[in-house]
């Protein structure tokens, strides 16, 4: 079974037309891969469907904008994969 990171990387490659080999666990979705906020909605929808969760994008955006959490915590892909694993675990 594919790891969470691999699934997310495949989703980003497909939805954003980015070569899969450019996407690494240390890639920052926005700064390194150039994913903009609208494209991130497509990615969020695909992640929500693939994992049966609801990425709390509004909360994350607010936390980053208020300086409470560095953006890397959510948008560097290894961290995004960890957040997804937490959400999957939380739903039981």
């Amino acid at each position: 079974m594919a790891s969470t990171f691999e699934t997310v990387a495949d989703i980003i490659a497909e939805t954003s037309d980015i070569p899969r080999e450019q996407i690494t666990p240390d890639s920052h979705a926005i700064d390194d891969l150039g994913v903009d906020s609208l494209a991130f909605l497509d990615i969020a929808f695909a992640i929500d469907k693939a994992f049966g969760i609801k990425l709390p994008l509004e909360t994350w955006t607010q936390e980053v904008n208020e300086g409470k959490v560095p953006a890397e915590q959510y948008f560097v892909l290894k961290n995004l994969a960890a957040r997804i694993d937490e959400l999957v675990a939380a739903k039981g």
């Binding site: 909605l41 497509d42 969020a44 929808f45 929500d48 609801k54």
Partner: protein, 153 residues
């Protein structure tokens, strides 16, 4: 329908919170400057305006489901198919259902039929944002005019 004013929905026929579904009705106008160019002597409702019609029905669905807390802005159109032509005077039955409610966005599936014949369908994504100044009241007024508020109440 007043194509030049982007008033694509004539009235809401039904709205269901439980089914997350809306049905709307419109009639393609008998005359419009749009038809002078699309196409000369062969008036056809443009696919982009059919897409806008599906988007507006979806938008009213989302507004109803979230009780006008945010404004849905069209962010994506996927899997759009245009199956039959429609021209002046055609009655349109528009149906939209919510396929997914994400955080700050929503996805709908919409169809248009005319006299029972499939015209088009698409999957539409909306970004939900705070209402720009003054727009909330305008949207509520428009929704009331086409019968959405009564359906919600």
């Amino acid at each position: 329908m007043r194509l030049e004013y982007f008033q694509m929905i004539d009235r809401i026929a039904s709205f269901s919170d439980a089914e997350e579904r809306i049905e709307a009705r419109s009639t393609v106008p008998d005359a419009s400057p749009v038809f002078e160019g699309h196409f000369p002597g062969h008036p056809l409702m443009p696919g982009v305006l059919l897409t806008e019609t599906m988007a507006q029905a979806s938008g009213y669905l989302i507004l109803g489901l979230i009780r006008f807390t945010h404004m849905p802005f069209l962010a994506g159109v996927e899997k759009a198919k245009f199956r039959s032509f429609v021209g002046p005077g055609a009655p349109l039955e528009i149906v939209a259902t919510r396929a997914h409610q994400g955080s700050g966005y929503a996805v709908t599936r919409a169809t248009i039929a005319s006299d029972g014949k499939a015209i088009c369908n698409a999957e539409l994504m909306f970004k939900l944002m705070p209402f720009p100044d003054g727009l909330s009241a305008q949207m509520r007024a428009q929704a009331a005019e086409i019968g959405l508020v009564q359906e919600i109440a």
